[in-house]
């Protein structure tokens, strides 16, 4: 099976061609402002090897949608419908958004009677009449994307589905985002994720169309997938509807690529880029997830995000003076102009690495002037930074293997305290594109179960998660359980158990 994986980073667009788990070809091209051109160039680069025949899938990982939110560019005004009354009325939708983003995105807001209790009973009956009036009002406003959030919809999506049907009938063609498909328990954070998703819908459609065009332009007849932040992919038409799932997929892809290249499923991964180093933990071949709220562009949400620590340590990190002041600034993508070894005038960690004989990059003679005590101080600093963070990420005292990837991997020392083995792998500098190429499809569920035994609750949750995975494009018989978390709930009657489950399988 042949697949192309592409990672669109801030500096480079990396692409790899994988055939039956073998890296056949890897290229790097500069990322372009419109993103698509860089993707087209990378695809051309892959095909120059004459390997275009029989490619079945192209997987693209992109920070496009995160950047759109952070930079407030290309966002659509959206209407918010919250089905909650008489509950959840004190804090309106958009309440904790940064003012500038709120001004751009906030459209008409409606609070409507309905929603459910934690045990599935309706709070009050769903107010269909109010929903029809809201739909008419949205139609009149001209807003084309709508976020619908109902109280306890992760338990039952009944109210959101009813509202969606009414809206679709009154406003044909309007883009509808349902919170029950996007998030976990926690109304405000889930609603925020839904609103962000809604404001990205037109951009997602545009981006997916452009990627499909780029693939067609180079003459590949393969299906397009976009990578998600949990290390799996979604079909293009699914990605158009769920752009928020692509947030933070870059670091995840690197970690998945590291797992693939090293054949280790439980290890730490150190990804050294141009500006930062990400350190994360692989468990069962997937990044461990952060268990807390995450801010995207200043909006508080709750996503499955990889649990990473980022250090201001990269190939482009500036080294100034003696004793040296190291970072936190970096020359970033201008490294090929500004670093000493490329004939520039600024000393970077790459220059120190070259001067120390750790790598052969550019013209080594231009870095020869870096004196030994600067080299020693810099290398000690790198060791300290990495050792402290590695220790922080470890979950117990035992030594763990570390897989080192990224363009700046040579900066990582051979011996690290608390580490059993520093594993270096071929193609480490395109680990992110490889992570995209090998991605599978996942399904997740987060629900409260009552009066079931723990085993029964987990079994019920697993079936629901598997249904979600199949809907996202997975083959049912290939699905495996990768994560189970159950949390007993305080002050609830009976045996209330909150179960979160994730399954992963191959593309159908």
């Amino acid at each position: 099976m042949k697949r192309i994986g592409i990672d669109v980073g801030g500096t480079n667009t990396d692409a790899v061609l994988l055939e039956d788990s073998r890296v056949v070809r890897a290229v790097k091209r500069p990322t372009t402002a419109d993103v698509t051109e860089g993707v087209r160039n990378a695809l051309h680069g892959i095909l120059e090897g004459g390997h275009g025949e029989g490619v079945e899938a192209v997987m693209i990982g992109t920070t496009h949608f995160t950047n759109a939110v952070v930079q407030r560019v290309g966002l659509e005004r959206v209407a918010a419908i919250r089905i909650c009354l008489p509950a959840a009325a004190a804090l309106e939708p958009f309440i904790d958004w940064p003012a500038d983003l709120r001004r751009i995105v906030e459209g008409p807001v409606f609070l409507i009677g309905g929603g459910h209790e934690y045990d599935g009973r309706p709070i009050v009956p769903f107010d269909g009449e109010a929903m029809r009036r809201a739909a008419e009002s949205i139609k009149a406003s001209g807003v084309r994307s709508v976020a619908i959030t109902s109280v306890f919809s992760p338990l039952t999506d009944e109210a959101e589905c009813e509202a969606s049907a009414i809206l679709a009938e009154a406003c044909p063609g309007v883009a509808i985002s349902l919170s029950s498909t996007l998030g976990r328990i926690g109304l405000l954070e889930r609603e925020n994720a839904t609103l962000l998703n809604a404001c990205l819908r037109p951009l997602a459609t545009k981006a997916v169309k452009a990627f499909e065009q780029a693939i067609a332009d180079v003459g590949i007849a393969a299906e397009l997938y976009l990578t998600q932040n949990d290390g799996t992919v979604m079909r293009a038409e699914f990605a158009e509807r769920f752009p928020v799932f692509s947030f933070a997929s870059g670091p995840t892809n690197s970690m998945r690529g590291a797992a693939f290249l090293s054949r280790l499923s439980d290890a730490l991964v150190i990804d050294v880029g141009g500006t930062t180093t990400d350190i994360g933990l692989l468990r069962n071949g997937f990044p461990r997830e952060a268990n807390s709220t995450v801010e995207v562009g200043g909006v508080r949400t709750m996503f499955r995000m990889p649990d990473l620590v980022s250090l201001a340590l990269g190939g482009g990190t500036r080294v100034v003076g003696n004793p040296p002041k190291i970072g936190p600034t970096s020359v970033g993508y201008e490294i090929t102009k500004k670093a000493l070894v490329f004939g520039g005038g600024e000393t970077t960690l790459t220059d120190v690495g070259v001067a120390s004989g750790l790598a052969e990059i550019g013209d080594a003679s231009k870095a020869a002037g870096i004196v030994p005590d600067i080299r020693a101080a810099v290398r000690q600093w790198i060791r300290d930074e990495i050792e402290t963070t590695v220790d922080r990420m470890k979950t117990d005292a035992r030594d763990v293997p570390v897989v080192v990837v990224g363009g700046g991997a040579f900066l990582v020392p051979e011996k690290i305290a608390g580490v059993s083995d520093v594993v270096r792998v071929p193609h480490h500098d395109v680990a992110n594109a490889i992570g995209a190429a090998i991605a599978q499809v996942s399904g997740e569920i987060d629900r409260i179960y009552r009066d079931l035994s723990r085993d029964e609750a987990i079994a019920a949750a697993r079936i629901a998660a598997e249904d979600n995975a199949v809907a996202a494009g997975a083959a049912r018989d290939s699905l495996e359980l990768v994560e189970v978390e159950d949390l007993p709930l305080a002050y609830m009657p009976g045996n209330s158990l909150r179960v979160r489950i994730r399954v992963v399988g191959d593309i159908a």
Binding site: P86, L91, I95, D96, I185, L188, A397, A490
Partner: protein, 360 residues
């Protein structure tokens, strides 16, 4: 009496999070709501208990139910206002001020919200000095005051009053059944307290304590100083342990989250192991098997870097933490207090012991 300023609200939230001792968490949603009410022109006055006339009546309020439900239904201060109005209608008198049953966690903000919505000042006091899982674990109950009448309400305008109950335990038992029916969250107004009772039986200065704690942490963060040191400097507490969480096991029994967290020592504590037993709140901490601190003293588990309070439901593997012990209010450790809030009340088979370094 002074105005509680808008800038003080985040510090109150941080302080309430720390005083929640793992059960009540950082009241983020309540903070956002209070800030919204302030933006809309509300202002709440903070009054010292000494400013109450002996026959003034104070509404003692709280949410009752599962914290998780509030994350979905969002805080519903209107249900608390409804419980307060229900109580006023029943006793035929108006309240002079409002205060929280507990200064730890989400409930700490209720007097701000209810005060803003009903135009009442809040009293600088509470009845726990921290967070506790059950309504009878208060200074009022310890001193033997009647805990009825007791009113409950929800946002559907269901309102009820327990006019009399056989004991504090019964109020709690009856209340729980009702609360479950209402969706596991309700606003409550406890037995009305006179100014004289507040001055004699409440834990005074609780709101100021939360503000001082919150301010210390926020200032330390702003100046890149260690927030843990800042807390120790402002409180007569001690740092028990620094380390990394290496296990957290939980289960529910009788509606409570119980469990145990294990922390491997770091720095000066390298080689030592702390275990903390919890029952919604952190109840007892042991170092290498030896009791280090226990209820009713406050055991606070904080993120070692930013001083943020960690909860019994959020503590997990790999977190770098500092564990502090802060002294409980004197009434809580008195001979009549310990049977209700000491270790034996939480099912431990040992007696209360002050943490080392605590002033006798």
């Amino acid at each position: 009496m002074r105005i509680l300023k808008a800038e003080e609200l985040p510090a109150l939230a941080d302080g309430a999070g720390i005083l929640g001792t793992g059960g009540g968490t950082h009241p983020y949603l309540e903070l956002v709501l209070a800030q919204k009410l302030y933006r809309e022109g509300a202002q709440v006055s903070l009054m010292d208990a000494s400013e109450l006339a002996d026959d003034d009546l104070v509404a003692v309020v709280s949410f009752m139910g599962a914290p998780l439900v509030s994350k979905e239904r969002l805080p519903e201060p209107e249900s608390v206002c409804e419980a307060v109005r229900g109580m006023e209608a029943y006793i035929g008198q108006k309240f002079r001020a409002v205060m929280s049953i507990e200064i730890g966690g989400e409930n700490a903000f209720l007097p701000v919200l209810v005060g803003a919505m009903m135009n009442l000042p809040m009293v600088d006091a509470d009845a726990m000095g921290r967070a506790f899982p059950e309504a009878q674990m208060t200074s009022f109950a310890i001193d033997g005051l009647d805990l009825f009448p007791f009113s409950l309400a929800d946002i559907r305008a269901n309102r009820m009053i327990i006019t009399r109950s056989a004991s504090a335990k019964w109020t709690e038992r009856i209340g729980r059944v009702v609360v479950v029916e209402l969706g596991s969250i309700a606003g409550t107004c406890k037995a009305p307290r006179t100014g004289a009772e507040i001055k004699k039986h409440a834990i005074l200065g609780s709101v100021s304590r939360a503000l001082t704690l919150g301010n210390a942490v926020r200032r330390a963060r702003g100046e890149h100083r260690d927030p843990i040191d800042a807390i120790i400097d402002t409180e007569s507490g001690v740092l028990l342990f620094r380390g990394k969480v290496d296990d957290a096991a939980r289960r529910t029994t009788g509606g409570f989250v119980r469990g145990r967290a294990s922390i491997a020592g770091l720095g000066a504590d390298t080689g030592k192991q702390m275990t903390i037993d919890f029952q919604n709140e952190f109840s007892a901490a042991f170092i290498d098997g030896k009791l280090s601190a226990c209820v009713p003293d406050l055991i606070c588990v904080l993120d070692a870097e930013n001083g943020e309070a960690l909860g019994t439901e959020t503590i997990r593997y790999g977190q770098r933490v500092a564990v502090l012990a802060l002294p409980a209010a004197p009434i809580m450790v008195s001979p009549k207090g310990l049977p209700l809030v000491g270790p034996r009340a939480f099912g431990f088979d040992f007696d209360y012991q002050p943490f080392s370094g605590k002033a006798a």
